[in-house]
């Protein structure tokens, strides 16, 4: 097994120490940080996402794999300064105003990072102005809006409407998700996409790019 495969496997297993050890060995062997990320960490998280989508693993396995991936990214990030790293997309992500739930949003952030996206997480209880400010500052291709409470679904609609009012709606594609959200509702409020679970979001982004 090559060292990239080792990093990939350690990531899938959520073995943080082994992931870091193998990354160190890969760097010593002259492997480029960008390649380690793509062939080891992102490749590992891709497998995790597929297994999650098929019901083979549950959220804890995804979280523990993501923790290993994040540790690896932290180790590699200082080595990436000044280098161009392929990014799938920049995504601003938040839970709508009135809703303090963050598990679903955090899982989406994990899977997007694991797919090679740059994620700007604006947190929970996010009013439209916070989304708009982040869009203006980070110029993402995508915005992800999450809600768990049925009561906050109208706020999801209002948030998208606020993007129109602010004149930024056409500059981003809007993805929505969360327990009460359906494709039908996403269509009704004028979202560009809907994902049924965290692992589907990266696929949706690839299909909409």
């Amino acid at each position: 097994m090559g060292i990239s495969d080792g990093i990939k496997t350690a990531t899938i297993e959520g073995n943080r120490d082994k992931t870091l050890l193998l990354i160190g060995q890969a760097l010593d062997a002259g492997m480029q940080p960008g390649d380690i990320i793509q062939e080891g960490l992102i490749a590992g998280m891709t497998v995790v996402g597929e297994r999650f989508k098929s019901g083979e693993i549950y959220v804890p396995e995804m979280l523990i794999a993501a923790r290993a991936m994040k540790a690896g990214l932290e180790k590699l990030r200082p080595l990436l300064v000044g280098k161009t790293v392929d990014s799938l997309a920049t995504v601003v992500l938040g839970t709508v105003k009135g809703d303090l739930h963050d598990i679903g949003k955090n899982l989406v952030a994990i899977m997007l990072e694991g797919a090679g996206c740059k994620v700007v997480d604006i947190g929970v209880d996010a009013p439209p102005d916070r989304f708009i400010g982040a869009i203006r500052e980070h110029r993402p291709e995508f915005v992800g809006i999450s809600a768990l409470l049925t009561t906050t679904l109208p706020t999801m609609r209002e948030t998208i409407a606020a993007f129109e009012t602010a004149g930024i709606r056409k500059s981003v594609k809007v993805l929505v998700g969360g327990a009460p959200v359906t494709q039908k509702f996403a269509d009704e409020i004028g979202a560009d996409g809907y994902a049924g679970n965290a692992a589907e979001v990266a696929d949706k982004i690839r299909s909409l790019k």
Binding site: F52, G55, I57, Y58, V59, G98, T151, P180, N197
Partner: protein
């Protein structure tokens, strides 16, 4: 056709998976905001009441409910009937010691005074004690992600936290066992819509022994509740010997399939959709869903109709009225 029953008889008959006079309607809670809207007046429930006797003027609900759940060790934010966690506070062993002192005294008679007041009003309704067994309070107090990492890194902390909340719950259960309740409802969410919150290995090793020990303490027939898709955990949950399982959140819990697979072992409770039907659907959609579940799941007994969680303040009152009418029309066993 069975003779007309009281609400209590109806519920207890269904929990035994026998055929009552009609399918009972039970809810673990009904938000006061919704009750006020349906009644057209403001009620002042006894503190701790999750469902009193007022709304039964308008709805054929068969139970009342009182809240004995331990508080969550976290900063929370309340808006109307909804309370959300802002900042979990259980991180360290020191926090665990603070938690023990922070919990209300379960041996204090005053802790049960409001419940006794509510029970004086119960009449023929089935009185439900809303309990917990100590698991969900732990992950809610720790924060879910922290809880998961702790299961991998320091499981002894998690099991110690189960014990702290569990001891508290056990003392409450001992006292509630002596009160005039008819059945219990153990709310222990353990699943998301895409499956269990923990791996099956973690469930078997850390949660199953705790829950089994705790469930044995309950002297009433009890309904086990979790949100989400807990199909994979049913083999464990059924070993707790619940009389019923709830609230069978659609679409991930397929109640028609459950009727076939476990309907002969346990009463099925709930499954009327809250994500759409009761909160955003039409009266006609509500009628169709309620009627289908009454007819298909109620067949042969062993079903108590209920929402997929509780009647929340953002249900459309008209849809709740339609649910009521449909239960009265199609719920009786003929």
């Amino acid at each position: 056709m069975p003779e007309q029953m009281t609400s209590r008889e109806r519920v207890l008959t269904a929990l035994k998976r026998e055929i009552p006079d009609r399918v009972p309607w039970v809810e673990n809670y009904v938000h006061t905001g919704l009750i006020n809207q349906i009644l057209g007046r403001t009620i002042r429930p006894i503190p701790g009441t999750r469902l009193g006797t007022e709304i039964q003027e308008k709805l054929c609900l068969d139970n009342i409910s009182y809240d004995f759940r331990p508080p969550i060790y976290a900063d929370t934010e309340k808006s109307g009937d909804l309370e959300q966690i802002k900042r979990p506070r259980l991180k360290t062993w020191e926090d665990l010691e603070k938690l023990k002192k922070w919990l209300p005294d379960p041996l204090d008679d005053g802790f049960y005074a409001n419940a006794e007041e509510l029970l004086k009003q119960k009449g023929d309704f089935a009185a439900l004690a809303s309990l917990r067994l100590g698991v969900s309070n732990v992950y809610n107090s720790m924060g879910y992600e922290e809880f998961v990492f702790a299961l991998y890194d320091r499981p002894e902390f998690v099991t110690a936290a189960f014990e702290v909340f569990g001891d508290w719950c056990a003392r409450v259960i001992e006292r509630v066992n002596e009160m005039d309740f008819d059945f219990a409802w153990t709310s222990e969410d353990i699943a998301f819509q895409n499956g269990p919150m923990v791996t099956l290995e973690q469930y078997e090793k850390y949660i199953f022994p705790h829950m089994k020990k705790m469930a044995k303490k309950i002297r009433f027939p009890f309904v086990y509740h979790s949100d989400g898709d807990y199909n994979a955990l049913l083999p464990y949950i059924l070993q707790y010997n619940p009389a019923g399982i709830a609230n069978l959140e659609p679409p991930v819990m397929d109640i028609f399939k459950l009727k076939e697979t476990v309907g002969s072992r346990v009463c099925l409770v709930g499954n009327i959709d809250l994500h759409y039907t009761l909160t955003r659907g039409s009266a006609e959609e509500t009628r169709a869903e309620v009627r289908e579940k009454l007819e298909r799941v109620g067949k042969g007994g062993g079903y108590m109709i209920a929402s997929a969680n509780g009647l929340v303040s953002y249900c459309i009152p008209e849809n709740v009225r339609v649910m009521n009418e449909t239960i009265l029309a199609y719920g009786p066993y003929r």
